[in-house]
């Protein structure tokens, strides 16, 4: 493994992050296995799963690099992995934000990018949690109270029109908790679009989001 920011981190933090990277590697291995199964257990595809053995270390290396210098995900994922990830957004992308922030600053970051979660997976999360706020915060990897306040749900029904892709980690919205691999800590798929020119009512819709409602 390359020199990593994790080298100087507390053992607990390092182990927590490595556990996340192992989780992400397992997730992508599972998706690759599912694809292989659909191809009726194509032997080549199954053998290819070995490449995921090194993925936790690869992800740690990517995570260690500063925002702005991280490599494109195609350097550590195959084209099939990336296509699979993008397919999670075929029914749209979703983000949550305070109503006031949307009205003041718009749905995109200063660099014009905007992070989205898979709408399908957000909807499934709503079903799984029955709309319970505590369970939703847990599923989204937020602190207790993270869904308090006057929130709106922003839906982008056609994220492919806006270049949906796996985040590189170089986006403005990629914070210290960003994880390489295109998932939130709770496991929901996240992608990024070019959101600078989105037009409300055309490219995205805004809906009240009240946990439990």
């Amino acid at each position: 493994m390359a020199n990593s920011k994790l080298d100087g981190a507390a053992d607990e933090v390092r182990e927590t992050l490595m556990a996340q990277f192992r989780r992400i590697a397992r997730l992508h291995r599972k998706r690759a296995r599912d694809r292989a199964d659909k191809m009726e257990s194509d032997a080549e595809a199954i053998r290819d799963l070995d490449r995921f053995d090194h993925m936790p270390d690869d992800l740690a290396d990517v995570h260690a690099l500063p925002n702005g210098s991280r490599p494109h995900p195609s350097t550590y994922f195959s084209r099939e992995d990336l296509d699979d990830h993008e397919s999670r957004f075929q029914n749209g992308g979703t983000r949550f934000m305070p109503r006031a922030n949307l009205e003041k600053y718009g749905p995109a970051q200063a660099d014009g990018t905007s992070f989205l979660m898979s709408s399908d997976e957000v909807d499934q999360m709503l079903i799984d949690t029955g709309g319970d706020q505590e369970l939703m915060e847990r599923a989204l990897g937020l602190d207790p109270g993270g869904l308090d306040g006057d929130l709106v749900r922003v839906d982008v029904p056609n994220p492919f029109d806006h270049g949906i892709r796996m985040p590189t980690g170089n986006e403005k919205g990629a914070n210290d908790h960003w994880l390489p691999g295109g998932t939130l800590p709770g496991g929901i798929s996240e992608g990024v679009i070019d959101g600078g020119g989105l037009v409300r009512g055309v490219d995205y819709t805004v809906d009240d989001f009240v946990p439990g409602g």
């Binding site: 009205e103 718009g106 970051q109 200063a110 909807d123 709309g131 990897g141 937020l142 993270g146 009512g201």
Partner: protein, 386 residues
């Protein structure tokens, strides 16, 4: 907390606000967790607030210092184990994204669904009056015929004959090459957890098939706490967790299921582990005699009914989109009373009346807290709701 914005800068990402309830003056900056944004608020003295309102350069500098965490002593936002990253302004001279277009009236989304009742099939709601039967996520409209054996048990159960549980257990344990399809097993499992008594779940052989079941079946079971409801379900879920905690989809389902059933004693900011969830289950069960639980208390659907009612009233009043698609199937399954099934729709007066009439009908049933119902029938043979 509601605030009144005195001045904000779209270019420099800060806002000077007054909290309406307390009158407190604050400067807020947007922060992000990626696909979820939030804000941090910093309390200001009246003098400093007035100065920053007047002096844009000073306000910009102060906001930058907040983003650098130099004024954490003024922070009024409660921080947890994760702190959002400040959304940074663009470097000077670069173009900002276009300003958001003015708000327009909401339109029903492309996926809006308006049904007279929740879909039946694996949701095992009231008999469908027409239309395709649907699987798993009903709003995605994937059609799948219900297995004949499962359909037979479901039909009898709707009429109050719950003896088909044994047939479902047999079906689920049949892993022979000519045995039931995965779809049939998923359907059987969902019906079984909906019908199972506390004693059925406590019986070690009932869910023994999970020991070597395909992962799809284990994942579905892990997330079924809201339908299981039984105190003995905590043991079954912990058993599954011991075998499959490393599987992210299983773990996600188990955490939701166990949190639905039991009350965690420790700080909610502590990451839930199988051990502390199991300990919470032991504590909850020691303090709670009811056989069927929700959040450590006797189970009752009143919370879901109330949530649906208040949400419909609010969305109708505000003209915003409404959906009860994640509550309606469960309410129909427990009560046997069909009601409107809505996703991303603008409620007309008739829609609202239909939702409220359904909520009234559900509230009028003589639910006994701590009992479990399938189509209004007490699974333990107690008085029916009908």
């Amino acid at each position: 907390m509601k605030t009144r914005t005195v001045r904000f800068s779209r270019e420099h990402y800060y806002s000077l606000d007054i909290e309406e309830e307390t009158g407190r003056r604050v400067l807020s900056i947007p922060v992000t967790f990626g696909a979820i944004d939030s804000e941090e608020r910093y309390a200001l003295s009246d003098e400093l607030f007035a100065r920053l309102v007047e002096d844009e350069a000073a306000a910009q500098a102060f906001a930058d210092e907040c983003r650098a965490h130099a004024h954490d002593d003024l922070l009024v936002t409660e921080l947890g184990w994760r702190r959002g990253s400040p959304i940074e302004p663009s470097p000077a001279g670069t173009m900002l994204p276009p300003a958001p277009a003015p708000a327009s009236a909401p339109v029903e989304g492309a996926q809006a669904i308006r049904g007279d009742e929740p879909p039946a099939s694996v949701w095992f709601g009231p008999d469908p009056s027409g239309g395709p039967e649907r699987v798993a996520s009903p709003h995605r409209a994937a059609a799948a015929p219900l297995d004949e054996r499962v359909a037979s048990v479901a039909s009898a159960a709707r009429e109050g004959d719950l003896s088909g549980r044994t047939a479902l257990v047999d079906l689920l344990h049949d892993s022979s090459p000519d045995g039931p399809s995965m779809q049939a097993r998923l359907q059987a499992q969902r019906l079984l957890v909906s019908l199972a008594r506390d004693e059925d779940i406590a019986e070690p052989t009932t869910f023994r098939y999970l020991d070597d079941a395909p992962m799809a079946l284990v994942e579905a079971f892990a997330g079924s706490g809201r339908l299981l409801q039984a105190r003995s379900a905590t043991d079954a879920l912990v058993r599954v967790g011991r075998a499959h905690w490393r599987e992210p989809d299983v773990r996600r389902g188990l955490i939701s299921s166990l949190l639905v059933l039991v009350h965690r004693q420790e700080d909610r900011r502590v990451e839930p582990t199988l051990v502390n969830l199991a300990k919470a289950a032991v504590t909850t069960l020691a303090e709670q005699p009811a056989a069927y639980l929700l959040k450590s208390g006797p189970w009752s659907p009143s919370e879901q009914i109330g949530r649906m009612r208040s949400s419909a009233e609010r969305c109708h009043a505000q003209g915003s989109l409404f959906g009860n698609w994640f509550l309606a199937p469960d309410l129909a399954l427990w009560s046997g009373i069909p009601g409107p099934y809505l996703k991303d729709v603008l409620l007309s007066d008739d829609d609202l009346a239909a939702v409220l009439a359904w909520a009234d009908a559900l509230d009028a049933l003589a639910w006994v807290p701590g009992r479990k119902y399938f189509h209004g029938h007490d699974v333990d043979g107690g008085p029916s709701l009908r």
